[in-house]
Amino acid sequence: MDEGRTFKQHGFTITTRKLPILKAGPIEEMTSKLGIAPPEMIFGDNVARIEYPDKNWSIEFNAFDALDRVDKKGTELKVAYSKEWHQSRQNHSDDIKEVVKPFDWSYSTDYKGTVSGAPAFEPTETSIPLELLKRPDPILFFDELILYEDELADNGITMLSCKVRIMPARLLLLCRFFMRLDDVLFRIRDTRVFVEFGTCEVTREYLAREEKYEAVKHKLMMQGETGPEAMRDPNRLANLLPIVDGSLEKLVLK
C-alpha cells in the first residue's frame, strides 16, 4: 500500500496517507469487525500519525478506531420528520416493525486518537498556546484528509477529518468531528494535538460542542447570516455552539 507523505522534524516523524474510499470487500470486512454498517464514504486506508521513534511512542488517527467508538446500541437522534413518518405509516396495514440493528447512525465519536507506547497522557492545566500558533511562522508541511463522511440520507452531514501543519518549532494536528442533522442538532468535537519540539511536550485537548439546530439558526440570523453556506462551515459555527465536554492532557517525551 502507498505509504503516504512523511516529514521529519526534531526527532518526530509525521505521516499522512490519502487513498480512495474502500471497496466492497474491505467494507464487508470492516462491517463485521465493527458490528455496524460503516458510513457512506469510508476512507479506511487514510491515516494521520505523529511518531517519536526514539521512545517508540505514537499517536495516530484512523477511521476504524474512530468508528469503533460510535455507540453500537443506538441513539436518541431521529431525522426531523421521523414522527410524521411514523404516524403516516400507521395508516397502512403493513407489519414492518423491525428496526435494523439500531446504532448511532450519526456516527458521533469521541475519538481522541490511537496512542501507543509510554508515557501516557496526564491531565494538565496548561492549555495550547494559541498566540504562538497565530504567528505567521512558515508552514513547512501541511496536509488534510477525511476519515469518513456520511450525508445522513440527505438529512445533513457528518464528517471526521484531520488537518496538520508543521512549523519550525511546533506542530498542530486537528481532528474534527462535524455533524449537522437538519432541523435537529449540530455537533462539533475537536481533538487538537500540539507538539512543542524544543521541550518534547505533547498537549492533547478535546472539546465537544453541541447546540440545537434552531438555536444556531437564530444566532446566525442575529449576525445577519441567512444563507445555507454558514450551516456547512464548522469554522464559522464553532463559536456558536456551547462546550458540553472537554479534557486537557499532556505528556513529555524526554
Partner: protein, 300 residues
C-alpha cells in the same frame, strides 16, 4: 408530462446512475457510451456530470436514473444539457427522478446556491425544480428490467401500483413515492426493515425475489448509493446499483460506470474514471486565484 410513471422501452440502452453536477464526467459518459441519438440513454438521477457526442450510426436508448444535481460544481450545466437532450430526443432519452430532484434537498446540497451564484437570483432554481415534478419515476426495459432511483416500497407489489401515484408534486417524506427514490437494499436481511434513522426502509433478498416474480421480471436496476468500483451486484444477480459520478465530490477517488443493456437483455458495466478536465479546471482556478502551491491555512 404525458409520460407514465412507468415508461416501457426496448433495449439496446445505456443506463446512467447518479451524476451530481459533475459535468465534465457526463461529457465523458457520452464519449464512452456513444452519442445521442446513436445511443439511447436512461438516467437514474442526481447527475453531476455529462459529455455530449455527435450522432453516429445505430440507435439505442439512454436512461438516467436520477440525481442529476447537487454537490458537483456544474449542476446547472448538467441539468440544462440533459433537459435539452430530453426535449430533442424525447423517446430516446429518459430521465428518472432521484431524491435530489426536489426543492427541499437542493436547498441544502448545492443546486440552489449554484443557481443563485450563477444567475444572481433563484428563478432558474424555481424553473428547474418545477420541472423536476414532471420527471418519471421508473422505466422498464424489455419488460424484464425494472429501473428506479432508490428501490422498492412496502406499499408497492405490482408495477400497476406505481402507475396510479400522483407524481406531479414535491417528493414527500413518506409513502410509496418517497420509498421509490429513497430506499436502499440491505443484503443482510430478507424482508423490509426500518432504517435506524427513524424514517425510510431497507429491503432484503426475499422482497426483491417476490417483486420480480409478481411482475414477471428478472432484474432491478437502481442508483442512489456510492460504490468504489462504480457498480455493485446483489441478491444472486437480481439487483444492481449503478453509480456514474467518478471521484465523487472530487475527493472520494471512486470509479464510476454506465450499464449497457444489449437488445437481448445482457448487461455490461462500462467502468470509467474521472475526466481529466476536472483536474485542469482545478489548476486553472488555483492559478486565477493565485493560490497555486501556497499553504496559508493557519487553522487553530
Amino acid at each position: 408530462m404525458k409520460e407514465s410513471n412507468v415508461v416501457h422501452i426496448q433495449a439496446p440502452v445505456t443506463v446512467v446512475g447518479d451524476i451530481h453536477g459533475q459535468f465534465f464526467d457526463l461529457i465523458e459518459i457520452f464519449e464512452i457510451g456513444g452519442n445521442i441519438p446513436d445511443t439511447n440513454y436512461l438516467f437514474l438521477g442526481k447527475e453531476r456530470r455529462e459529455r455530449l457526442m455527435i450522432p453516429e450510426s445505430h440507435a439505442d436508448f439512454a436512461i438516467s436514473v436520477g440525481d442529476y444535481v447537487d454537490r458537483g460544481l456544474f449542476s446547472v450545466e448538467t441539468i440544462s444539457l440533459l433537459t435539452c437532450l430530453k426535449l430533442r430526443y424525447p423517446s430516446r432519452v429518459h430521465l428518472i427522478r432521484g431524491n435530489h430532484e426536489s426543492r427541499g434537498v437542493t436547498q441544502s446540497y448545492g443546486f440552489y446556491t449554484e443557481c443563485s451564484r450563477k444567475y444572481g437570483n433563484a428563478s432558474v432554481w424555481h424553473y428547474f425544480t418545477d420541472m423536476f415534478d414532471f420527471l418519471t419515476l421508473s422505466v422498464v426495459i424489455n419488460d424484464q428490467i425494472f429501473c428506479v432511483h432508490g428501490g422498492l416500497s412496502p406499499s408497492i407489489h405490482s408495477i400497476d401500483q406505481i402507475k396510479i401515484i400522483d407524481r406531479f408534486r414535491e417528493i414527500p417524506h413518506e409513502g410509496p413515492m418517497a420509498d421509490l427514490v429513497w430506499s436502499d437494499p440491505d443484503a443482510e436481511r430478507d424482508e423490509f426493515s426500518l432504517s435506524p434513522r427513524g424514517a425510510g426502509y431497507t429491503f432484503g433478498a426475499q422482497v426483491v425475489k417476490k417483486f420480480l416474480e409478481v411482475n414477471s421480471m428478472n432484474h432491478i436496476l437502481r442508483a442512489h448509493q456510492l460504490c468504489q468500483e462504480g457498480y455493485q451486484v446483489l441478491y444472486d444477480d437480481r439487483l444492481s446499483t449503478v453509480w456514474s459520478a467518478p471521484n465523487y465530490c472530487y475527493r472520494c477517488g471512486n470509479l464510476a460506470s454506465v450499464l449497457e443493456v444489449s437488445d437481448k437483455g445482457e448487461r455490461f458495466f462500462n467502468v470509467f474514471d474521472a475526466a481529466p478536465e476536472n483536474e485542469s479546471f482545478k489548476e486553472h482556478q488555483a492559478k486565477s486565484q493565485g493560490t497555486e502551491g501556497v499553504v496559508t491555512d493557519y487553522f487553530l
